[in-house]
Symmetry: C2
Subunit: 198 residues, 2 copies
């Protein structure tokens, strides 16, 4: 089975859209999803941006919210921007690494995004993450402890460096087994089609 | 019949993709296309960019070329980046205004894009534009003279100001009769669907 690497950033609105559908769509295409959280902050800073481009460029930010409203409505997904955007998603990203090792990245990551962009919750808050994890029957104490281990911190830092080295500049990005990159939720179908033909 | 305003920039790669299909797709959706060339240069400069974001952010620029190669191949369109990007598209945009007044924006604009991004021609060159116009049976001497008139220059400047005031920050952008904006060739189907339901 061909693998498609799903590079996502926990604070990214469009990653939410892809996370909610990628497993079902990939299964239909006969493609296996590899969940790889990374951090966009260092990549944005390297481009000279102190925040998300949606904050740096307000017209783009206003458009993104309207675009998300329309796309979420069309897909029957809840959508509500959190008060602080982008959230500090480092803790959630480290937990996603642990969840991926345990084979439960899908349920955990979807629950984090649904809390954040469906209900407007602040995912930098440990209580929020605790409720999210327990809502999908994950042991938060264990998840939290594992996520604080040095090897997980190192893995997230290395993944973010790897993403930047690959030329990734936004999320979600899909990486095929033959090295093609597809950027944006708009490209998920194309990335799955490409992978299924390998 | 509902109208959809097609805001395009003559030097924009993704506008090429939309220009090549918008009339057929709109006809199928029962939507009328309004061709409105504008200039992205002033909008980019207002955001602090001295050039296209594809030049300002090289990773994004490299991705765009690969993305265009794949999309053009899938649509059986030729694709070749011109040596100088972005081209100075002011003369071509003014001619597109004249062509739109004459009801021949589609053939003219498609021919300009095909020369530029299908064959790599420099559309700031009057000889190139002359061959393009004659290739679609337009009288270049008349087109060129009309495009140099003050009212056409004024219209292009006003259109670019209007685009910026609407919150447009990239091309192509599609504007529905009820004021929705859809950015990018990826959103053409959605914009047509929205328009056809009005």
């Amino acid at each position: 089975m061909k693998a498609l690497v799903f590079w996502f950033e926990m604070a990214s609105t469009y990653s939410y859209l892809s996370a909610m559908r990628i497993e079902e769509d990939a299964a239909r295409a006969g493609v296996q999803v590899v969940w790889r959280p990374f951090l966009l902050g260092p990549i944005f800073r390297a481009q000279g941006w102190a925040s998300s481009p949606f904050n740096v460029y307000p017209a783009k930010g206003r458009y993104m919210i309207r675009d998300m409203e329309r796309l979420a409505a069309a897909r029957a997904l809840p959508f509500r921007m959190p008060a602080t955007f982008p959230a500090n998603g480092i803790a959630a990203a480290r937990m996603a690494i642990v969840a991926a090792r345990d084979g439960v990245a899908g349920p955990f990551v979807r629950a984090v995004y649904t809390a954040q962009f469906g209900a407007g919750a602040d995912i930098s808050n440990a209580d929020v993450l605790s409720r999210v994890a327990e809502g999908v029957s994950l042991d938060f104490a264990r998840l939290s402890a594992s996520a604080s281990a040095q090897d997980v911190k190192d893995e997230l830092r290395r993944s973010s460096e790897e993403a930047q080295a690959l030329g990734i500049f936004g999320a979600p990005t899909f990486q095929t087994a033959d090295g093609e990159l597809f950027w944006g939720d708009d490209r998920l179908d194309q990335a799955l089609g490409w992978s299924s033909r390998l």
